[in-house]
Symmetry: C2
Subunit: 452 residues, 2 copies
């Protein structure tokens, strides 16, 4: 047999079991949270007709996409979950009820230049709400609440959902008669955090060709900060000068005024006029989410409102609002920064049953009883020394070993050893299950991310 | 904007939301069951180095594989979950604890000729237990119990796990000095159900070149049927003539003798000497699972024991046992046959909150409270007529509408309408949650597959 050295391609995440358990926990939190907000799970093919995926075209996408022929077919792998959603909604329009709320957690592919922390295969975890012609602002208002629930469930408290409205920006630039340059200006303003006010002003004047008063107006506008109420009050002073601006301000107020009802604390939410989002197609509320102690990670959950999801596939107007979490990158960065909770139970089982008699029927029956009560159980069946059996449990991080010898079998009991404390008790199987489940429940609510 | 007609490639499953909900339920049952038996979830890349995936080579695989170049890389998409597991175990050997128990539910790709019911992208749901050098028979004995739990949880009772042991077959053919022809003979015997005894005998004699007494011996052997005890007793009469046979018989007895402890009813299990499994690499127990009322579907869960998982990547002997469920095909066939339970709650929400006042703060707060108690809730925010709102709930199949008008708000209550019975009650929010959750729990335990 010719041997080939095993390897995994660079840019493709492949986790060891304990880390995978942490990733699974994050996915489970996402699924549960999305479901509680009434989103339907969706699954679409990873491979689509290349024509469909590349309908929009665009340089980076065409360069990065995995595209290949098979027989006569021109195939490509999806590079996001939005284009497949657009296709799905256009294709199945008659079978869907609108607003159509779906979540999708799936792998996407981008053949980027390989570098540390960049992935060619990565999970996105998206939700979108698609309206048929219209979509009420309430949907935009709900999004921060979903983001809040997710990151809280991950174990975080020090994060901030930053919100803006593209109509406010577009209306503001229209007031200054700078609509045509607004894209260029926003891209410059977006660099504020990195390069500072002075440099932004210079670029605005030298590269964008703005007059100094115009540049000052813009800097004054994006310098509006404070509590949500303070920012909204400051924005009110611009009202009446542009219809689009006024509409955007109404939308922003609708989004902020229900935060309390949605249970989002003010500390986790900020109106931030510097948020624009690069993508051209956002037309209303835009969202970013940052970890307050780790601004260097950038936004971990972003999205916004758009007016036209599927213009390449249908002439029906399909407005929507959505957010996306780059799960693989988020997981990678959290791990790199040491923010994943090492105390989380990442073992594949809650208990390892170790039969101490030759006949293993009793051990098997015990395991089945525990499983029936919801305990995750392995039976250790290998012919090894006792010490090796315990070391197996240790290596897996299994919290409990359950020993079953002749004495226990005769008494209808089992010996449960907590491998962390070393404490051992001999109890009836149903008591063992209760003991372990109590522990398991505590573990299940343990944070997957540790705040430092 | 140039418009492109939206389409999904043939051979790629894309489900509408209600069907997707049923598929998700099946996946959740698989994840839960695998986890209760102590299997660790694993996720490996869909794209691997083509050299790695094609290490074994072989005609069909090379023809069907999706293989393409990106830059200098020769890439391919996985066609099963076993080869990536072999690579994973060989690559991460030092970081794993053995026996290594993993489950993986993931998409695999085969560029087969498109035809009805054949998929080019499909889910496999696999478990494997990999030993380091050795692996105790207990692991083989545990597999039927896992299969039983899964199909029982799907809602089935009329299914049968059919088990054989390759050593018994190999030993038997060695007794007859027919080892060299055993592959050919087994492939012929495998057709017994389809073509009948006489035709099998003819092929054995004419094509395999067997003497009539040899053919008769084989037909007599595979005609051994009855209860497990009867089959084992009949097999005992062959003991002592071949070591491999005797070892296989011991293994088969070990697998069957613990069925009771594992909670597998005799009715759902049969020793079946005609089961061989096509793949050459099985060396011990082999498994198939059939739906008793739908033999035409074939085996819905198959696998077996093998001695050498990763011989192409490492010279360590890594024996294992595993089973695989072809989930996409299973789902497709169940749906085609009308066996998916239409009564299963496949709505994306348990309740639709309909605000009846202009200020929607109270409706939002109510929705949040219900979500906090675990209810899946949508708030209907669109400006439509009441009738259209109710028709939205109907179309989604949401079981409850919750109406919140001024009266309810003033009383701190809400009106919960069961959309199936039409019965409406006005209760406090926590009572509403209890009412809905009770229903939800009943629905959650409803069968996803309906036996007919």
């Amino acid at each position: 047999m010719t041997m080939i050295k095993p390897r995994t391609l660079s840019g493709f995440m492949e986790l060891l079991p304990a880390k995978q358990a942490q990733m699974e926990r994050m996915m489970q939190i996402l699924r549960d949270t999305y479901a509680r907000y009434g989103f339907a799970p969706l699954d679409t093919p990873i491979i689509e007709d290349a024509q469909i995926l590349l309908a929009k075209g665009g340089g980076e996408t065409e360069k990065q996409i995995y595209r290949f022929a098979k027989g006569d077919s021109d195939l490509a792998m999806r590079f996001d979950l939005t284009v497949p959603l657009a296709k799905y909604v256009a294709l199945h329009y008659n079978d869907l009820a609108f607003p159509f709320r779906r979540y999708q957690i799936g792998k996407v592919y981008r053949g980027e230049r390989a570098q540390r922390g960049r992935f060619r295969e990565f999970y996105q975890a998206d939700i979108d709400i698609i309206g048929d012609g219209k979509l009420d602002i309430l949907n935009e208002a709900e999004i921060p609440s979903i983001i809040y629930e997710i990151f809280k469930s991950f174990g975080l408290s020090r994060f901030q959902i930053r919100v803006n409205n593209r109509k406010i920006l577009n209306g503001f630039y229209a007031m200054l008669n700078l609509s045509e340059k607004s894209g260029e200006i926003m891209r410059t303003v977006d660099k504020l955090d990195k390069i500072g006010t002075e440099k932004v002003k210079t670029i605005l004047m030298e590269d964008c060709g703005l007059q100094e008063p115009e540049a000052d107006e813009i800097l004054k506008f994006i310098a509006i900060t404070g509590s949500n109420a303070q920012v909204l009050t400051a924005l009110e002073t611009y009202r009446g000068r542009n219809e689009i601006f006024d509409l955007g301000l109404d939308e922003l107020k609708a989004v902020t005024e229900n935060l309390g009802a949605f249970g989002v604390p003010e500390a986790n939410f900020a109106v931030d006029l510097t948020i624009a989002r690069g993508l051209d197609y956002y037309t209303g509320t835009v969202y970013e989410t940052t970890l307050l102690d780790h601004p260097e990670i950038g936004s971990v959950c972003s999205g916004g409102r758009y007016d036209n999801l599927a213009g390449y596939y249908t002439d029906r107007p399909l407005p929507g609002v959505g957010i996306s979490i780059g799960l693989t990158r988020l997981f990678y960065v959290l791990d790199e920064q040491g923010l994943l909770n090492p105390e989380m139970n990442s073992a594949p089982a809650d208990a390892l049953v170790i039969p101490m008699t030759e006949d293993r029927g009793a051990a098997i029956a015990l395991a089945q009883q525990l499983r029936g009560q919801g305990v995750r159980v392995q039976v250790y069946g290998e012919q090894k020394k006792f010490k090796q059996k315990m070391s197996y449990a240790d290596k897996l991080g299994v919290p409990y070993a359950i020993l079953l010898g002749e004495d226990e079998i005769a008494q209808g009991k089992c010996s449960v050893k907590d491998l962390r404390s070393g404490v051992q008790v001999t109890v009836e199987p149903s008591q063992a299950a209760e003991l372990i489940l109590k522990d398991q429940q505590a573990a299940a609510s343990a944070a997957v991310i540790l705040e430092k």
